[in-house]
């Protein structure tokens, strides 16, 4: 995991753009937080895919399913162009509301694929240094957390008063 990763090792530029757009709907910008795509989570997933080949098949399948659903949505809406010219993506042409519809559809019809997309996006986002900095999270060590005051045995007065609760045997 410590090897430097070259972005785009696994995903094409088009796939990265699509993934970034999807991620910006899964965790959108707002509340002082960046969107997941804007935070660079597509490149992080590219790294995961290079490190863990088992993730490739479900993630590619999820991207494919999103595109297929986006094409169908544009065609149904009677749109002339069903794909973005530079990225060839149908999803990128949709409005945010329509993108959310596509993702909700995937969540319903292919929940396992959707779960991979969501879980890996959450993972990339909540292990992202810039995101953690905004949220105020440090790694658990070396500082740990301050030691709380000692336990106060007086709190156990009632429990003690009730007496022994185990059975002799």
């Amino acid at each position: 995991m410590s090897e430097p990763h070259e972005n785009g090792a696994i995903l094409t530029a088009e796939q990265l753009a699509l993934l970034e757009a999807i991620q910006n709907r899964l965790i959108p910008a707002g509340d002082g937080m960046p969107g997941a795509g804007d935070a660079g989570c597509a490149n992080t997933l590219d790294r995961y895919l290079s490190e863990r080949p088992a993730l490739r098949r479900p993630l590619f399948a999820a991207l494919y399913a999103v595109e297929a659903a986006a094409h169908a949505a544009s065609a149904a809406a009677g749109d002339a162009a069903t794909a973005d010219e530079s990225t060839h993506s149908a999803f990128l042409l949709l409005s945010n509301a329509a993108r959310d519809d596509v993702l909700r559809g995937l969540e319903k019809t292919l929940p396992e694929l959707f779960e991979v997309l969501l879980h890996q996006t959450y993972t990339a986002y909540y292990t992202n240094p810039a995101v953690l900095l905004i949220l105020g999270w440090n790694p658990p060590q070396p500082e740990g957390y301050p030691t709380p005051p000692p336990f106060d045995e007086a709190l156990l007065a009632n429990v003690k008063q009730r007496g022994k609760v185990w059975r002799d045997a």
């Binding site: 707002g30 909540y126 658990p140």
Partner: protein, 537 residues
Amino acid sequence: MAPRQDVADVLIIGAGASGAAAAWSLSSAGLNVVCLEQGDWIDPTDYPHQSVEWELHRQTDFAKDPNVRQRPEDYPLNNDDSPITPLMFNAVGGSTIHWSGHFPRFRPSDFRVKTLDGVADDWPITYWDLAPYYEANDANIGVSGLNGDPGSPPRTPRQTPPLGLDAASHAYIRGLEKLGWHWWPSDNALITEPFGEGRQVCNYCGPCDVGCPRGAMSSAHVTYWPAALAKGVQLITRARVREITVDRRGRANGAVYYTADGGIAQQRARVVIVACNGVGTPRLLLNSVSGLFPHGLANSNGLVGTHLMFHPVAFVTGVFAEPVDGHVGPLGLLLHCQEFYETDTSRGFVRGFQLQMCRDSGPLSTATGSFPGESVPWGGDHHRVQRERSAHMLTIGVMIEDLPEAHNRVDLDPTLADGNGIPAPRISYTVSENSRNCLDYAIARARELLDAASAKEVINQAITRETGWHLMGTARMGDNPATSVVNRHGQAHDVPNLFIVDGSLFATSAAVNPTSTIQALALYISDWLKQNFREVA
């Protein structure tokens, strides 16, 4: 095959909690002990706690599930036929590398369930047989806590004081006192004040489940192993045992193992002890097939691998309006409640459960809902809900007694194998009706408690899959050779110089975490072996 010339007095297979305790005890008596362990030492700097990606490591190279972790020293498991996934770590220290260290003892009644409640079996030994070994084990490894718990027999003062009073404790105590239930700060295999060499006290960092880089957890690799090595035990790592070998009389005479470079070696011994845990031990016995033991070693009655017990667990999570700092302090350690521990048949089940008051973890754990079992929603509401939950959740682990049933078992998978081609274990397990009823009742009590603690929302799972931490019962102890695998001394009925010291021994499971009992048993069995070594060897 290059046989080692030397014949050990005792060969121990597995360097986890039980193997380490046995190695220390036997070497203290001057016996020449060799231990074979398939994993290696974990370098404390390898733990992910200083990385921003520590929660990613929890899902990858420090995952609890060996099928996910897939380190070369891990073996795969076929869990398709089980609603609970067995979890473990394979290294020096075994599963105590990333355990929680919750360290309650069994109660006296746990050893007598047939007599008291008419179910399952009594153990051939009693709580009182083990009591001195529980004490000795605590003194050896260092346990924090407070003596005087009316939920179990008296014990000596704990080696270090209980964990401090933090926001999470206050929330739980509020609920427990309102309901008037039993509770106590739990005994924890973790030090809160200096104890032992080279160990630092707990600094409340949180995620014990990815290891303890400070050595605050009283895990086998920082407690028993340094002491055992100092007494001359030879610990051979990256040594994966394929089978235990026997001589013409049917006595164990050593083991054949794969070395790190894939070569094969043999270790000969007068006595063999298996300490590979409740899954690894039956796997190894079943794979040790010979003319004399065509169905596996110590398995003439076909019981090896049967009666597998987990503790079925359901997580019940409370979301609080005020911060409860669930990420601060050791994940699985706080208080325990044994109000519903003993049998009361009016509840619709026999035996009982403990409520283990746990905390929460980092932001990724919150987002993916690892405790409530439900992720924070994606989309427009994401940041709001994440903020409301992060540092605002506490989880109770509802842990019930699992009764032994022959059809719950470990056997060998016909096709799946580890990196050396050794057949992998296959798990077949169903949750019994008694367990289901107990879980449902216990979940309702945990919800009641979180309500009383003034959680604004309570979310529960019906059963939590990733909780097969406790692996028990697959080489059960008993006086009757027809219904058990080993006798009251952990000695195989079929093979007098073969011993088992891990959770496989358990005749019943109790409703508490097993490792204090596993290590007490390992010391108890080792003591008997020391006293009877000449006759046995």
